[in-house]
């Protein structure tokens, strides 16, 4: 642990308070647009380049994503100084990178033209790269950072193609010109551009199979930056998908092409299932959370894909509105609970210095605040009522089941499959967090680090409390959250807003109104569920104090006469074993047991167990790709002779061929 000078700590605090102030201002602005009816705010930036105007513009969709950014930013800014003070290297550089990162994310959300968008997008990548590599400087993190940079830039290349194609046709970079240009496109071109955009944004959002960098890079950053990367940066990429898919590239009238909805829905479903399956087998707390981000991005995309399938041009389609509202709400919800969980994991990390949960345990008594807050986040992400994760996943279910019935045919079948996969995902997520929470916080400490842990300082708890409050509020009062979604959904789909479609009676009920018949059948009142749960808890509490016949006696667990030790506890590996067996086809698990024997082979001195599972995308796709690139590079090397006149001869031949090609009669 390093001790920093007071002036340095003061500077770090000041910078974080500035970030907090900026976040509050941004949130106020966003709420004015979303609820205050301020219309679209826009601002022309000073002209930096001779060929394009640059501007910021905030409509409903931008404002909603800005709200997501500012929510987690505020928590991270509260949390950051204490966290950095505890164990950071170069805290000032980290603080500035964080500020730049947040500013660029806000810039992406509020960009009014393609150029500003791409500049802010690149700034976001670079700032987060700094955050990934600076905290713990070792070989692994450097490689993770490099992988991240390569994937992000490959994605940006795809986005450049999209934006430059549109701006060349539209004679300008601003979104209005791009929109006009997209209207004139042929159907196949439009679809190719959308797929490119999906790849470009998907690489950043971590959809399977472009997710391989995510679980390596996110945990490497300092924890509040991980919270921002996982909770917000992925959402900024999703903003891009929403903006291009529903707005800029959408045809002038008529429904979105069915291939878009199919692709997004399938990609979302695969991401959700693969993300949670891989998360289950992680024993590094932060990496587990990072894999859950892949899962949640998948859930958001399921909603978005369904909305694309259901949309009917500018006309109102209540089910499409429901699907899109579910998707957007899950965006906000995931930012809140994933931010909370990463901050909780950071709290554990900063007090114990350990990320591997096999070495933790027994933290519940040592860090009570962190424990309760992490539990709250775990309940939310497992989509259990009455917290916010349940609300948006339930809405997604409603949309999938009713929308599937309405669509019929192959699309309906796909929606049904997606619904069942979503159910599987929810169950596995709950299992995963039972493991993560139980192994980390319950039982006995399995290492000295865990044994000597103490509670984190108040500012860190305050940051977590802010997000926990958001989780509870969004969970109990989803009806009010619907009003936030009115602006964005009406801009993207037209027609009724979700507050008209979804809420039947006040803030309480989550159901359809004026929609297809049968929506009432799936309605549910989260507030009533919460009241019921509270009642049950109260009953249990009362019954606990009921007089018993036998007197109460406290004793250690009976362990067949041996002294109980923390090694007897259930480990994370053991907990995940049954699922490892069931899904062996996906995991391809490998294990090795090393026996160290004494003089006789029957006397075993020591047993070593190592096990690992593979990420199918990594082994099937990336390893092969790497091999192919290496082989190609070796092949090209044969032509790299080092002779200057040889190179000039290449230039000459290329020139002549180009002339022949372009000047054909």
């Amino acid at each position: 642990m390093e001790v920093h000078k007071p002036s340095l700590r003061g500077a770090v605090w000041l910078a974080h308070l500035l970030i907090l102030g900026g976040a509050s201002a941004g949130a106020t602005l966003a709420l004015r647009v979303l609820i205050g009816g301020a219309g679209t705010l826009s601002l022309t930036l000073p002209r930096l380049f001779p060929f394009a105007e640059m501007s910021l513009s905030m409509d409903g969709l931008s404002a909603f994503f800005l709200l997501v950014v500012t929510l987690v930013t505020a928590a991270a800014a509260l949390y950051g100084p204490s966290y950095l003070g505890a164990h950071a290297k170069a805290p000032l550089v980290q603080t500035f990178a964080l500020g730049g990162f947040v500013a660029c994310m806000a810039g992406v959300c509020c960009a009014g033209d393609g150029l500003t968008f791409l500049l802010a997008w690149e700034g976001m990548t670079l700032a987060s790269y700094v955050l990934v590599i600076i905290d713990t400087r070792n070989e692994e993190n450097t490689r993770a950072g490099l992988l991240y940079l390569v994937m992000a830039h490959a994605g940006t290349a795809a986005l450049l193609v999209v934006f430059l194609t549109l701006s060349a046709r539209g004679q300008g970079f601003d979104f209005a010109a791009l929109r006009t240009a997209a209207r004139t496109l042929q159907e196949p071109t439009r679809t190719v551009l959308f797929m490119l955009a999906l790849v470009g944004f998907g690489a950043k959002a971590g959809v399977v199979p472009l997710h391989v960098w995510l679980p390596k890079a996110h945990p490497a950053a300092p924890s509040h930056a991980s919270a921002l990367m996982s909770g917000v940066m992925l959402k900024v990429a999703l903003y891009g998908i929403f903006r291009l898919g529903f707005d800029i590239l959408a045809p002038a009238d008529g429904p979105l092409p069915a291939s878009w909805g199919w692709t997004v829905l399938i990609v979302g479903t695969v991401s959700a299932v693969m993300g949670v399956l891989l998360a289950l087998q992680q024993h590094d707390l932060k990496r587990l959370l990072a894999f859950h981000s892949v899962e949640n991005v998948g859930i958001i995309l399921i909603g978005a894909g369904l909305a694309m399938l259901l949309s009917r041009g500018r006309g109102a389609e209540p089910l499409a509105v429901l699907a899109l509202a579910a998707s957007l709400l899950h965006t906000l919800n995931h930012a809140a609970f994933k931010g909370l969980l990463f901050l909780g994991a950071g709290s554990v990390l900063s007090r114990t210095g350990v990320r591997n949960m096999e070495e933790l345990g027994g933290l519940a008594r040592r860090m009570p605040w962190t424990t309760w807050l992490f539990l709250l986040g775990a309940v939310a992400i497992s989509a259990l009522p009455p917290l916010n994760g349940f609300v948006s996943e339930w809405m997604t279910f409603q949309a999938l089941l009713l929308g599937g019935a309405k669509l019929g045919g192959a699309s309906g079948l796909l929606a049904g499959v997606a619904a069942s996969m979503l159910a599987l995902t929810g169950g596995l997520a709950a299992a995963c967090f039972a493991k993560a929470f139980g192994v980390t916080f319950l039982g006995r400490p399995r290492s000295v680090h865990a044994e000597h842990a103490t509670e984190s300082p108040a500012p860190m708890i305050a940051g977590m409390l802010l997000l926990a409050g958001a989780c509870v509020a969004l969970g109990l009062l989803p009806g009010y959250a619907m009003r936030l979604l009115d602006g964005p959904t009406q801009e993207l789909l037209g027609g009724l807003g979700p507050s008209a479609v979804v809420t039947a009676r006040g803030p309480l009920v989550l159901s359809g109104n004026g929609a297809a018949s049968g929506l009432e059948a799936t309605s549910i009142s989260v507030t009533a569920v919460a009241a019921l749960l509270a009642l049950l808890a109260a009953v249990a509490w009362v019954l606990r104090g009921w007089p018993r016949r036998a007197p109460r006696r406290l004793a250690p667990t009976w362990t067949c006469g041996m002294l109980p030790s923390s090694r007897f506890d259930y480990t994370a590996t053991a907990f995940a074993k049954p699922l490892r067996l069931i899904f062996a086809a996906v995991y391809r698990p490998r294990r090795a047991i090393a026996r160290e024997t004494g003089p006789s082979p029957y006397v075993v001195r020591r047993l070593g167990y190592t096990g690992e599972v593979v990420d199918l995308a990594e082994t099937m796709l990336y390893t092969r790709l790497k091999r192919w690139i290496t082989a190609t590079a070796q092949g090209i090397r044969a032509y790299s002779t080092g002779r200057i006149h040889g190179y000039i001869a290449f230039v000459l031949v290329t020139l002549v061929l180009a002339l022949l090609f372009f000047a054909r009669v």
Partner: protein
Amino acid sequence: MSVDLATRLIDVLGGLLLFSTLLILAAGQLFRAIYAVAVQSVFLAIAGAVLGAATGNPDLWIIAGITIVVKAILLPWLLIWVVRRIQIPREIEPVIPINATLGLAAGIVVLAFRLSASLGPVRQAITGNALPVGIALILLGVLVMASRRKALVQMVGLFASDNGIFFTGMAVSQGMPLIIEIGVILDVVLGALVMGILVLRVRSSVDTDIADLEDLRG
């Protein structure tokens, strides 16, 4: 000066430019190549002056003057100075035989004329056959660079190619903006300086020619 006369003069000068490039290609000795490129630059300057007189564009006169001073006098002098300084064998060391190079050059000239036939709209009355000649000059300059081992001859090829670019620019657009022409000349001067210094330094420190640097490849 009448347009007809200018066109004929430009055609004649184009032929002379092409001929001087062929002289560079055929030169078996270093000094001959350098003199040939100097003569070529003189022809280019005259072409610029003719065009300037025909179109009344004063920029072309300025460019013609700069071409005479820089390309016909300064740069050849620099090359000769470097050659005297490092005392290398003055034979050109061709990668492929000179006769074969000339055969390739003939092919390139034919190709340039054939190609420019398809670029009809670009050919303008006043400049006659300047476009195919310009393209041929550019490509032949690159051919010189590609087919000779010595760094100094490659520099000569670069100048010849650059002359071709100038001629094309003048012929097609009747003079590019002055600032661009001056920028291009500065580029060439800088390139020549850098390469000259490099040749001298490599020679004086490791006593080898630039072309031998390929042995450094791992």
